[in-house]
């Protein structure tokens, strides 16, 4: 039982880890990774139940594990790519330590960040699940890969639901603090989401914006 206890104690780190994206947008005391996961699970469950092409139980499990690597991995955003200089090696230790400027990185910068991000997240996940017995370890790792690779319908659904719940949270912060470019966020939502049920919900979110 000690191994389960170690895992649960380590998982606790996510309750205190504030999402950097909100910090970058100057939102004080933004949600933590654990709070984000909690919110996403409900979206996936409720919408997943309406769908006959989604295995809801599996999708919920994917939502549960999708960001747990952040217990040990930095929560990197696309803005972090702006600090990557052409021809220079990326300092892994420094990534995610400072708050980056807002801006639009080049495709090459995003590609290079993504490669490092994937490695850091995989290492973070492996460290987190290390205490667990093999069957659980394998299951969590497989679920996380399903999300990352988007090979299955459930993995793709959760990935898009993740974008929508982030957008919903952004709109809540917009109502409370301003500070979020709400029109740009809605526009981006319509570029990156193609799931019909999630698009319907995006339409409802848009209607509620003053």
């Amino acid at each position: 039982m000690n191994n389960i206890l170690d895992f649960l104690i380590n998982l606790n780190l996510l309750k205190g880890k504030r999402r950097r994206g909100w910090h970058i947008h100057d939102i004080e005391n933004g949600e933590t990774t654990a709070e984000h996961i909690f919110h996403l699970i409900f979206l996936v469950w409720i919408i997943g139940e309406k769908r006959d092409d989604i295995d809801t139980e599996r999708a919920i499990k994917i939502a549960m594990v999708h960001d747990i690597c952040e217990a040990y991995a930095p929560d990197l955003t696309s803005y972090d790519a702006l600090s990557i200089k052409e021809g220079e090696e990326i300092n892994r230790e420094e990534l995610g330590k400072n708050i980056p400027e807002k801006g639009r990185p080049t495709t090459e910068q995003r590609k290079r960040l993504q490669e490092v991000k994937e490695k850091l997240e995989e290492e973070g996940l492996i460290k987190l699940i290390k205490p667990l017995q093999n069957s659980f370890k394998d299951e969590i790792f497989d679920l996380w890969q399903e999300y990352e690779k988007g090979i299955t319908a459930e993995g793709r659904f959760v990935k898009q639901a993740d974008k929508l719940i982030n957008l919903l949270q952004g709109m809540e912060y917009y109502k409370k603090y301003g500070k979020i470019e709400h029109e740009l966020w809605i526009r981006r939502g319509k570029e990156v989401i193609d799931d019909p049920s999630l698009l319907e919900l995006l339409g409802e979110i848009e209607k509620k914006i003053e």
């Binding site: 092409d53 295995d55 599996r58 696309s78 495709t107 995003r110 590609k111 993504q114 069957s135 394998d138 299951e139 497989d142 399903e146 690779k149 988007g150 090979i151 299955t152 319908a153 793709r156 974008k163 029109e183 740009l184 809605i186 526009r187 981006r188 319509k190 570029e191 990156v192 989401i193 193609d194 698009l199 339409g203 848009e206 209607k207 914006i209």
Partner: protein
């Protein structure tokens, strides 16, 4: 399984095929393990149940990937002179004074980090079939006009 068509680039198809081979290898390895014996008692052996569950998950994933491979349609690039937006097009747009670049792909290859947007997204649907120089309005409460500045194919 569905009859939904999956539009993929050659690279996308290679990625799916690689994943399919990896899944089949995993299944072979799982079956090679010493499968726990099923016990015919009221309390089944938990190890046996875990083994069956893992195998069922693998089988389901393999079936889903097979469904994709059965219904795949490869995106063919038109001639480089083609100026209307089809799947595989690289599109430079301007919206709200900001320039942006998209590659229009099928849903399985959509990856916003690299500007790959799905043809099933509202913006992807609106752009499909339009030509360089045209404008596209994505209407709802917040209306956005996308000016199509350049269309190209690799």
């Amino acid at each position: 399984m569905s009859n939904k068509k999956y539009y993929l680039t050659k690279e996308g198809l290679e990625r799916i095929k690689k994943e399919y081979e990896e899944l089949k290898t995993k299944r072979r390895e799982k079956l090679k393990e010493d499968a726990p014996e099923a016990t015919h008692t009221e309390d089944p052996d938990p190890e046996y149940l875990t083994f069956r569950k893992d195998l069922a998950v693998l089988e389901e994933k393999i079936a889903k990937v097979e469904d994709v491979l059965r219904n795949v349609e490869i995106i063919k690039s038109p001639s480089k002179k083609c100026k209307d937006i089809r799947l595989g097009a690289e599109v430079v747009i301007e919206a709200n004074g900001q320039e942006d670049k998209f590659i229009l792909v099928g849903t399985m290859e959509a990856d916003p980090i690299f500007g790959k947007i799905s043809d099933e997204s509202p913006v992807g649907r609106a752009l499909l079939g339009k030509k360089e120089g045209e404008e596209v309005k994505v209407s709802s409460k917040i209306e956005v006009i996308y000016k199509i500045k350049k269309v190209s194919y690799q």
